[in-house]
Point group: C2
Amino acid sequence: MELSSKYLQKAVDQMSTLPGVGKRTALRLVLHMLKEDKNSVLEFADSFVAMVNNVKLCKQCHNISDVELCEICTNSKRDIATICVVQDIRDILAIENTMQYKGLYHVLGGIISPMEGIGPNDLNLESLLIRAKEDYTQEIILALSATMEGDTTNFYLFKKLSDANVNVSVISRGIGIGSELEYTDEVTLGRSIMNRSPFEINLSN
Amino acid sequence: MELSSKYLQKAVDQMSTLPGVGKRTALRLVLHMLKEDKNSVLEFADSFVAMVNNVKLCKQCHNISDVELCEICTNSKRDIATICVVQDIRDILAIENTMQYKGLYHVLGGIISPMEGIGPNDLNLESLLIRAKEDYTQEIILALSATMEGDTTNFYLFKKLSDANVNVSVISRGIGIGSELEYTDEVTLGRSIMNRSPFEINLSN
């Protein structure tokens, strides 16, 4: 696709570097921007410059933050005895939305994936081991995706954490709340039968 | 969705101003950018600043261009007797890709749509009427979408162009090449029966 303006072409090429955005979509998006007034496009561009120049990673949990320690790590109402290990900051948002968790987080920044060339050294692992060995840390919750890569990482973390005096737990897997049995895939269903738990009447749920 | 960094929040908000990009997708795209190195993000932002500062519209056909007259208008190999009227520059790309058209273009910049509040005054119409009245202009091809808005605009343009001494034609409508009859919608099929043409053996096709 050759465009009639090299500036337009450049913008389209840049837009199509975003994941899932092809050349056609990029052109549609850029032409939409050209219809906007000039200042909103400049504001659009500025927001990314400001972001890369100012965004930091929290020194403790590697969450994205504007300051050295993120809001969650410095919040005195949170339970510092529990650390929930997640893949990236979107998982923090998802867990925060449940309103069920009051502990701290640790962002790994990825999961072990030989296919994508991501090994343990590419993850924020050392800092997790140091945190795990702190006296006040009692439990590490592994909240990674229920994929092969997630399982591999869980297993690796579990081994690494065996030196530290902490309980390591994994978020439960099974059929989703509201799912119908007949439409659940067999692997999930098989696992959820194997991992069955005693029936309890729990009024809080 | 409240994010842990106001710079990240700003970038996500800006990204989600793009059509079809929701907050979740915007966050995914912006986090992807944060994983890139700083210079590529700056290059991304720069490309939009350079675009809005430099892109012009061709004085003659309103195609996007870096110079006063676009490459198509100044190309001496093109047939200046024919002007193809299109809605926006993506249509020019689509037609150019067919390699079947060697005339000039005229970008309306929209089509008449009372629903979206777009009237004749919002389109590049005056300049089209001036071009139509030039001695060397012999044919105006209306190549708008086969929608109600396209039809309305075709009709309006046809009336407006009746003063000028030009032939006005419309691109043909009917079942698409490669389409099966039974899957063609009834409006298209009905039209293509009404607009039937004498059978010709045309070896060039």
